[in-house]
């Protein structure tokens, strides 16, 4: 009796599995074009619903096209998915990739150059973007991507702590010297004066601000052992050695530390603005990143690419969707939902965006800082591997395991090795 029940149960399970999964398949639309779009989620927020709403709106306005947004995990997983499906002969139409992965996608031959499509739009199409955001759209000086969700690091500080320490709460440090001074004043027994998350993104800014360079335009060589680069890392090491700054924090750790009052100042992405706004129980402000010899900031985030192996019809439909997504209204919506900076400057003139920036004036600081923006370093082939090498060497140097000079020489050698096959 019991056995029969078990067998019945198993059979029921099987039936359920079979019948339900049969519904999983998609119906082939009659003459409707389906555009599959892989996107990652890069910041906190109700982003999946926001993306679904945008795509649904487009499909409604353009009944012959059905854009299907497919959440693909984080940036790494989105790249993995794009690569796997393209290699399996089942490419998506559009993917939203981080700058490093755009290079890899070009090397793997899975995305198409966009210059012809840009040219077809006529003169001035690219004027709709902040110029500082176009660096990441290029691979070795050729357009392969269109910016969509972009961020940039800004300087966050706790105004209450500034007041306590007798510093002007309306003025963020302007230079490296001031930054070190402020950090010294603000460091106490139970908090750091400053936190700078260490990967390749932020230390690169110091190298660039110090007059150094990260790589050549072709992306086949790095310049990480230059005196400027070594000096920049020495400056960071100085902050760590004096105890003003922890040697190793990540972006999420730093923003958590900041809202918990464990650090008075931090470098962090604009992606953290909403989080800090919602979680900080004190008065806080943002400013431009302090300048070195030059004022330079990097950008990060994701850009649209179009996969190769599609029919002309699909390419055109994908391009039309990308164009629509980068219009002021859509960039404003995405910016407000995600905290990324709207890539289209005209978005900031829209009433809904004015209301948003009135409530979060810090977002305006981030926008204004964009005039000093360049792309996301390193801009090389195998950028993920180069980044990895940079991040782990910066970490070792700041942990005191190796001297800046030796470390940067070693780093340059290993990056040179990674890039050898592309020269």
């Amino acid at each position: 009796m019991r056995k029969t029940r078990i067998i019945l149960f198993l059979a029921a399970c099987l039936l359920a599995a079979a019948s339900l999964s049969a519904q999983g398949g998609k119906e082939a639309g009659s003459d409707q074009l389906t555009i599959r779009f892989y996107y990652p989620i890069g910041t906190a927020g109700d982003l999946a619903n926001a993306m679904n709403a945008l795509c649904a709106q487009y499909s409604e306005e353009n009944p012959d096209v059905d854009v299907e947004p497919i959440y693909a995990g984080d940036y790494v997983q989105t790249m993995q998915r794009t690569l796997t499906s393209s290699k399996a002969g089942n490419p998506a139409d559009i993917a939203l990739l981080t700058s490093a992965d755009v290079w890899t996608a070009v090397d793997e031959g899975i995305i198409i150059p966009l210059q012809p499509l840009i040219d077809a739009e006529g003169e001035g199409f690219l004027d709709r973007f902040f110029p500082g955001m176009l660096y990441d759209a290029k691979v070795a000086d050729e357009f392969y991507a269109i910016p969509f969700q972009k961020s940039t690091p800004i300087f966050y500080y706790n105004k209450d702590m500034f007041r306590e320490a007798g510093l002007d709460p309306e003025k963020a440090p302007e230079t490296w010297e001031e930054l070190a001074e402020y950090a010294a004043i603000l460091t106490t027994d139970d908090r750091y004066g400053l936190e700078i998350p260490i990967d390749q993104w932020l230390p690169s800014i110091f190298i660039l601000q110090n007059g150094g360079e990260i790589n050549n335009v072709e992306g086949t060589e790095t310049y990480l052992d230059s005196p400027e680069a070594i000096e920049a890392i020495e400056y960071l090491l100085g902050l760590v050695e004096k105890g003003y700054m922890p040697a190793k924090r990540l972006f999420g750790d730093s923003s958590s530390d900041f809202v918990a009052g464990k650090t008075a100042m931090m470098y962090n992405s604009t992606g953290s603005l909403a989080f800090v706004r919602d979680s900080a129980s004190f008065d806080w402000g943002v400013g431009f990143l302090p300048a070195g010899k030059e004022r330079i900031v990097t950008t990060g985030g994701g850009q649209f690419v179009i996969c190769s192996g599609l029919s002309d019809e699909h390419v055109q439909a994908a391009w039309d969707f990308i164009k629509w997504m980068t219009e002021p209204a859509q960039t404003a919506k995405w910016s407000m939902a995600s905290g990324f900076i709207a890539v289209n400057p005209a978005a900031f003139g829209l009433p809904e965006m004015v209301e948003y920036t009135d409530a979060l004036p810090q977002a305006i600081v981030a926008r204004d800082q964009l005039q000093y923006a360049i792309g996301e370093p390193p801009k090389t082939h195998d950028a993920r591997e180069v980044s990895q090498a940079m991040a782990s060497m910066f970490e070792s140097i700041l942990a005191g395991n190796i001297s800046p000079e030796e470390g940067m020489k070693e780093l340059q050698a290993s990056c040179s090795g990674i890039l050898a096959e592309y020269r």
């Binding site: 056995k3 599995a17 999983g24 910041t43 497919i70 984080d74 953290s272 989080f275």
Partner: protein
Amino acid sequence: MNDSIAVRRPSWQLVLTHAVLILVSLAVIFPLVWMISVAFKPKMEIFSFPYALLPKAPSFDNFTSAWSYAPFAEYYLNTVVIVFGLLAIQLITVSMAAFAFARLGFPGRNILFLMFLTQLMITAQSTIYPNYMTVSRMGLLDTRIGVMLPYMASAMGVFLMRQAFMVIPMSLEDAARIDGCSVLQTIANVFIPQVKPSLVAFSIMSVTSHWNEFLWPLLVTESTDSRPLTVGLTVFAQQAEGGAEWGLLMAATLIVSLPLLLAFMFFQKMFVDSFISSGLKG
């Protein structure tokens, strides 16, 4: 049965043992308690210092917004169908294969079994690409069957069941034969009832691991019709830039893991036994 020969331990030893056990269980349970505490806290409270275990103004807000961020109801259904559908299939394939390896004499049996076992040494991640190709060619991308396909046979399960079958006396099998049982009837009526502990052990391992599976379903599924819970959960866990929404993340984690937690509480003894017996018999 040990009571009669149990050695009386000095009481300080008992106290020490219990102190250590209590400390360890506190360490284990703390993350769980913390998760529940944060899940009920409003945003401003999560980072306010000093940290408190009890929320000052507990609310369900995190749960309601977490639930609305992704279609969790559909994801729940998908996970249940995938996990239990897979289990049903596995139980059949695994016991039949195990019977063949344990009791049928055929040339090359041992070599074949060895090859089967080498599967255990290959990490699932490294087979993702070939599996994707297979599933893609069969037209099963974005279906629940596609998610289940690579796991329909289980080397671990076959190994466990084979070891269990091996110790069943030959005479039982002979008796079944004499009574006129076919091979399938012998498996169903004689072998399966004898190895229930192993079956339960395997089922529990299968359910927990597939309930928690993430990367593979993320890759092969695209739509709400086939995506499991874990994929929904990661919507909250991305903090590449900036802070995660911890309240939402913890609420969502609780939503996703609650069934397993409850199951663990109800079947605690079986759970523990399953890992012990799988260790001993394996």
